[in-house]
Structure formats: structure tokens, C-alpha cells
Symmetry: C2
Subunit: 291 residues, 2 copies
């Protein structure tokens, strides 16, 4: 059984990106620039944004955080996005989700210039991904592909069961892994809350991508020997420790791991790969804009 070490893999990719950024800047161009929009003061969102900021710094990507109070109107955010779209010194735009209830998230996402949409959430980028055309792929599925690639895991003709159909993980993952490509060319089954026989389907899987957000959902008796298990779940479970919580995945790791050929831990598996995928997309956007 091999642990898919997202932390080390992401670190190696980060070093590659840092080198590329350095070369890029050495040609006289400005460094890639990422702008993040954050509304309100949600604790988790603050953490994510500060991670993204420090990740950028580590590889030489510059970044700005634009903060709005919880009371901001949708039009104020839209006006800001139009301004950033037009700013030739900004390559990538992300909007930290979730937004407050009075903001239409989809309207915000669709206002972003698709060529700066480094989260890959704009319908044009979703369509391009589904059609196998160049564009921005959302960070989590892209990070998972990178991890599969890094460990040379065979995917062609394998049966991949994706648990969850979210727009940011399950659905893109299913579309990508069923394409004639590497990683890909899998037979893909998408399971979700209405699937009555998830256990039986998981037992058929060569590869399981667990992205339901249900802590410890995948048990050992749902996994066949030799399977590859990728755990996307990351739920904060309260503890009496100083942080007040620990991160728990969708997979009952201790019980499942012995049966696997490859498995990701939580934390340290998909999470760091997701973070690095955003950097890759931002560099890609810079190359697209400044060629």
C-alpha cells in the first residue's frame, strides 16, 4: 500500500512553478498576479484566503485581497470584477465562496472574464473542460489528476466510482476521467444521495473518489483489495484540542488503507494538491495574457 503524499508532491510542483515564475520574470515580464475577493469575515474563508496568499508568495506570484463587508451589494462586487477584468496587471481572479445569501454567486462567477477565471467555475470553462478543450480546470479535480500522474497510477479501462456530484469536484472529476486521455479513459460511475446501492458499486471500483463531505463514509467493507482511494472530504470535527477541531475525510482511513494499492491521507492528500493547482492556473493565465 502506497500513501499518496499530497504534501510532498505539491511541494515538488511548487518548486517547479517557482522556477518557471523566476524564468518568466527574468525575461522582463511582471510576475503573475492573482486577485482574490473576500466578503465578510467567515473563519474558514479567512484561513483559505491566507493560505492562498502565502502559497502565491512562496512561488513568486504576487497577489491582492479585496475585502468587502458582509453588507456589500451585488452591484458593488460586480463593478469591482469589471474593473479587475479590464486591469492588464491582473492575471487571475478568484471569489472566495460561499458568498452571503443576498449575493447571487452564479452572477458573480459569470461576470469574471473566462480568461482570468483561474478557479474554472465560469460556464465557458466548464464547457471547455467537458469538451476536452484548453481552459481552466477547477483546482481539486486538477490536483487529483496531478497526483495520479505523479504516482503513475494506471487509469485506462479502470472502473472509477465517483461519490458526489458537486460542480467543483464530483462532476468535473467524472467528466475528466471518462475522457480519452491520461489520467482518464476510465469507465466512470457517479453516485450520490439518491444512489441506493453505493456499497455494491464501490466494491466494483478500481478507483474510488470520495467527495460526499460525509466524515468516515467509506468503510473497509465497501472497498475491494488493491483499489485506489482518493479522499476529497475534509470536515472539521470539534475536539478539545487547542485548535478546537480536527480534519476528517470521507474515508475511514485506518480500516480502508490496508486494502488499498494507493490511498490519500487527510490532511496531506488532496488538500495541498488543490492549493497548488490554483498556482498552476494563475501561471497559465499569466502566460495566456502576456504572450
Amino acid at each position: 500500500m502506497t500513501i499518496l503524499d499530497g504534501k510532498t508532491t505539491a511541494q515538488a510542483i511548487k518548486e517547479d512553478i517557482a522556477k518557471e515564475v523566476k524564468q518568466w520574470v527574468s525575461t522582463g515580464r511582471r510576475p503573475p498576479h492573482l486577485t482574490a475577493i473576500l466578503v465578510g469575515h467567515d473563519g474558514a474563508s479567512e484561513t483559505y484566503i491566507s493560505h492562498k496568499e502565502s502559497d502565491c508568495k512562496q512561488v513568486g506570484i504576487t497577489s491582492t485581497i479585496i475585502r468587502f463587508e458582509q453588507t456589500v451589494t451585488q452591484n458593488e462586487i460586480l463593478d469591482m470584477i469589471f474593473k479587475i477584468n479590464a486591469d492588464i496587471n491582473i492575471d487571475g481572479i478568484i471569489v472566495q465562496l460561499p458568498m452571503p445569501k443576498h449575493i447571487n454567486e452564479q452572477a458573480i462567477i459569470e461576470a469574471i472574464d473566462p480568461d482570468k477565471d483561474v478557479d474554472g467555475f465560469h460556464p465557458v470553462n466548464v464547457g471547455r473542460m467537458v469538451l476536452g478543450l484548453p481552459g481552466f480546470v477547477p483546482a481539486t479535480p486538477d490536483g487529483i489528476r496531478e497526483l495520479i500522474r505523479h504516482y503513475n497510477i494506471e487509469t485506462k479501462g479502470k472502473h472509477c466510482v465517483v461519490l458526489g456530484r458537486s460542480h467543483i469536484v464530483g462532476r468535473p472529476m467524472a467528466n475528466l476521467l471518462s475522457q480519452k486521455a491520461y489520467p482518464g479513459d476510465c469507465t466512470v460511475t457517479v453516485c450520490h444521495s439518491s444512489t441506493p446501492n453505493i456499497k455494491e458499486l464501490c466494491l466494483e471500483a478500481d478507483i474510488i473518489i470520495a467527495a460526499l463531505g460525509v466524515p468516515l463514509f467509506l468503510k473497509a467493507n465497501m472497498v475491494k483489495w488493491g483499489a485506489v482511494v482518493i479522499d476529497v472530504g475534509i470536515t472539521r470535527v470539534p475536539t478539545s484540542t487547542s485548535s478546537g477541531f480536527r480534519l476528517v475525510g470521507d474515508v475511514d482511513f485506518d480500516a480502508v488503507a490496508p486494502k488499498c494499492s494507493f490511498i490519500t491521507p487527510v490532511p496531506g492528500g488532496v488538500g495541498p494538491m488543490t492549493r497548488v493547482a490554483l498556482l498552476k492556473n494563475t501561471l497559465k493565465a499569466a502566460v495566456l495574457h502576456q504572450k
Copy 2:
């Protein structure tokens, strides 16, 4: 066993569309207008285009066919598309595929205004479909949904196996039927040329959508009792009859039908539903443009 009669169902929907168009025109608006671009003189393409033309006429939608010789350049087609995009008297634009080899089909498709893209092939519409947002859904998947709806076939929690991953049938079908909607909320498995155990997977299916384009691929020993079988395949097989060919589906109908709860015939199943879906989309486009 019930035959899913696409011909009769399509006829009923056509009558509804004709009524709607009549009402629409009675408010003083011009009828919906579809423009088709046809390059060269391929026999099958000529047939499809003339069907589309006569379908339009039957429901009161006006149409134009713009013909180019095989030698046309890509830029000449693009210029025409830009002209049609800007023409407020045209609601829907379709480009009859395949195009000659020297034309980049994707560039042509992406030049079409997404709001006039009644084939639903533009990446924006593909993305919107995948995200469950309003837009144009390609005709064949939309026609299949309509047929399922018309016969009140239960889909929630059912296992649907889609054979084929084409951009125009298999992939959109898989994305639509896995969404939380009716028809939909299925567990969906996508099989294709790299799937080693199609037979076993089909035997698990409550619903099979056969869209491989391989005549008589699906045999009776691949289908469980009570399954719903939708046959998208339509291959011209040479015969000594006056037409010179007969249309053969992907399903070995005579052997498979007795095991099914519902099955589509070929011809007269999915085909007419596909044709009617284009009319629906054109009417929808007209309403979008002239509201």
C-alpha cells in the same frame, strides 16, 4: 413491454409547438426563424437539412439554408456567422456537421452567438447544461429526456448505463441524468471503447442508453429483465432495396425487446424526438430574443 413511440410522441409535441408558434405570431411578433449552414453536397447532410426544413415549415417556424461549396474558406463561413449573429430577424443558427477537413469545426461552433446556438454545441451552453443552468441542450439528449417524460418512466435512484461518450449524445446524457431533476437523479455509468466489461455493467442497468454507433451491439444476454432500453444508434446498412440501405440501431431489437419494460425502435424512436428538440430550441430562442 412498451414501445417508446418517438414518431407519435414527436408528432404530439410538434402540434403543441405549432399552437405555441401560432399564439406567438398572433401577438404581432414575427415567427421564429432558423438559419442552417450547409457546406458541400454530402447525401446524408442534404437529407438531414431537408428534414429540418420541412419540420420547421410544419410548425410555422421559418427557415433559411445558406449553402457553401466544398471549397469555401473558414473565414468565409465565419463572416457569414457574424452576419447572422447580428441579424435580429434570425433566432437560431445551426451548422450541419461534418464540415470539410480544412474547416476547424470547433472555431465555427464557437463563433455562433450562444443565445442563437440552438444545437447547444457552444462551450457556454455545454457548461450551462452541466451546471444545470438555463441554456440550449443538444437535440438528441433533450429528445430522449422528452420521451422519458412523456412515458412517465421513473428515473430517480435508477442505475443508468450510457454506452458512448460523444459530445453530442453520451456525455450530455450522462451529465443530465445524474442531475437532481426529472428525468434524472440516476446513478450514471459511462462506458466506451476502453471499457473491458460492458456486458456485466449493462446487466446491472435499469436504463441503458446505447449511443456507440455499432449496429446491433446490445444483445439480449446483456440486458436484465425489466430494463428500459433507449437506442440512439442509427447506421445505414446497405441493402438491395430501392433506397439502397436500411437503418439499423445499436440494439438487437427483436431479441432484446421481450426482456424490456420500455424500448425505442429504430427508426421511429429517438430520431423523431431529436428532430422535434431542434424546433423546441428554436422557439425558445425566439422567445429569448423577442421578449
